[in-house]
């Protein structure tokens, strides 16, 4: 394609981001600032994830893009089309066939394998931000592991709701050191972060921060001894494929209150249906 460098970003920018990624991998869960570039789309649409994807994408890589688990939503389709155009890479919806998966708010149900890279789009990278507006102070808190306040939030949940009501962006501790925001994935996906075979990269475009969870890293979801971390469960299986082990979205089917629960991971749902057939 004319007028653009491979994968849109210039090589110096990609190098800068890759240096940041190396640091992030070396210090799991630590937020590394980077000189974010303007991307041809607004903040909040995945500019952070796209810059990371652009920096690590090779010509032979196969790319998958999902938004809330689906390959066919506007955001996913647009980003996939973008990289097809500016990098000319092959794309796929098949989780197992992808080398790089850019995602917003989900981790695929199909277990990831060694060599795969998952790139998360992150709106607010700082898990302490809800209580501490000062960036200077949150950095000190991270440096000194002053994380008591994270449990204050969970305590409040139990005091108000009787259980930990945080269901997404559920805070984790990475490698026993940094408290990290896993991006707004449902807490259902948190266990998939733990000792994953794949490399997890996180990019926040507006805040210009990136961080990483390298393969085979301990990732614990914060909890209390008497209120242990639990994932969501559903009474019924997926209405379309019958899966009982996947994260289900509620879909309203008519104006009369009709609804059903289906897999949020469209690729997984498809595969399950193929297997049954």
């Amino acid at each position: 394609m004319n007028g653009y460098n491979f994968a849109y970003l210039d090589e110096q920018t990609k190098r800068m981001i890759r240096r940041g990624l190396l640091k992030a991998v070396a210090i799991p869960g630590y937020q590394v600032p980077f000189g974010g570039r303007e991307m041809p789309m607004p903040y909040g649409w995945g500019t952070g994830g796209m810059q990371l994807t652009a920096s690590i994408l090779g010509e032979d890589d196969v790319l998958k893009v999902i938004d809330q688990g689906a390959d066919d939503t506007t955001n996913a389709v647009s980003i996939r089309a973008f990289f097809e155009r500016v990098a000319g890479v092959e794309t796929t919806t098949d989780t197992a066939a992808a080398d790089v998966i850019q995602t917003r708010h989900r981790i695929p149900e199909t277990p990831l394998s060694a060599g795969q890279v998952l790139v998360f789009q992150v709106p607010i990278p700082e898990p302490l931000r809800f209580i501490e507006p000062s960036e200077e102070e949150t950095r000190v808190m991270h440096a000194l592991e002053e994380y008591g306040v994270m449990h204050v939030k969970l305590y409040e949940d139990i005091a108000r709701h009787g259980h930990i009501a945080t269901t997404y962006a559920y805070p984790v501790k990475v490698d026993g050191r940094y408290v990290t925001d896993p991006s707004p994935i449902p807490k259902f996906d948190n266990p998939k972060l733990h000792m994953s075979d794949a490399l997890m990269l996180f990019g926040a475009g507006r805040e210009k921060r990136l961080y990483a969870i390298p393969p085979h890293t301990r990732v614990e979801s914060l909890d209390f001894e008497d209120h242990p971390f639990e994932i969501q469960a559903w009474d019924a299986p997926c209405a379309m494929c019958g899966a009982r082990d996947s994260f289900l979205d509620e879909v309203i089917t008519d104006d009369a209150g009709g609804r059903m629960f289906v897999c949020s991971d469209t690729d997984y749902c498809q595969k399950c249906r193929e297997e049954v057939a």
Partner: protein, 262 residues
């Protein structure tokens, strides 16, 4: 009868501490020892440098000169020679700070229980039931209704907020507590009740306290010993009743004789 052993171990020492913002602003050449189990009052008018001294003593502001020494579980620590990490850990674990305005020491938007539990959580307490029990216990100790454990302190009165701040500070059983005008913004009747609570807690927990106040009546009730500050310097120090009943320095005599007694 044997001669009593009157020496007590030093807990906190200020050695020639100076912190000046400008000529006469701040504190200068402050030298004293706080012994274990003592309540030391720092009195003086506004602008005398007592709040600056407190900030310097409690690790919030490095002095221009001099040293602050703390004799803790790990032996003698030079407060500003150790790293920030250890200094903050000390404040979190062995020390406590009660601000004049409870809003500075509380999270107003989260429940009373979470406010009391935060320091315990910071120390690694991870049992919700125990945290809640500690919250209720401490609300009772400072005479707050434990039934309000889930209410946010933004709906509490000033006196109740101050009690909650005290509970939140003492829950980790600090050895040394710094208090900055703890009854400052309260009505007189509320003040008296709070002073009594503080006296009881100091005795029961064997606390050592550095108390900053401009109110000599508060100092009389709470402090064992006083430092009188004027223009950044200590002009007189001694037993509380000696300072108030037989003041030696001209300024202390003026200060004491200026108090209105009903």
């Amino acid at each position: 009868m044997k001669r009593p052993q009157l020496e007590r171990p030093a807990l906190l020492e200020a050695r020639d501490v100076t912190r000046l913002y400008g000529p006469g602003k701040g504190c200068e050449a402050i030298d004293f020892t706080l012994h274990a189990g003592e309540v030391l009052g720092i009195v003086g008018e506004s602008g005398s440098g007592k709040s600056t001294l407190l900030r310097t003593l409690c690790g919030m502001e490095a002095p221009d000169a001099g040293r602050v020494l703390y004799h803790g579980h790990e032996g003698e620590l030079d407060l500003y020679a150790i790293g920030e990490a250890r200094r903050r850990a000390l404040l979190r674990m062995e020390w406590g700070l009660v601000h004049q305005n409870p809003r500075d020491g509380l999270r107003l938007g989260v429940s009373a229980g979470a406010n009391v539990g935060e320091r315990l959580m910071a120390l690694g307490q991870r049992h919700y039931g125990q945290l809640r029990a500690a919250g209720q216990d401490w609300m009772g100790r400072v005479e707050l209704d434990p039934g309000r454990i889930d209410d946010a302190p933004q709906h509490f009165s000033g006196g109740m907020q101050q009690r909650l701040q005290i509970a939140r500070t003492l829950v980790t059983r600090p050895r040394l507590v710094f208090m900055d005008e703890p009854t400052g913004g309260l009505d007189v009747s509320v003040q008296a009740r709070l002073l009594d609570t503080l006296r009881t807690l100091v005795r029961e927990l064997g606390l050592s306290v550095v108390l900053v106040t401009h109110d000599l009546a508060v100092a009389r009730l709470l402090a064992d010993r006083l430092l009188v500050m004027r223009r950044g310097r200590v002009v007189e120090s001694g037993l509380t009743d000696q300072i108030l009943d037989d003041p030696q320095h001209a300024y202390t005599q003026l200060l004491v004789s200026s108090v209105l007694t009903p």
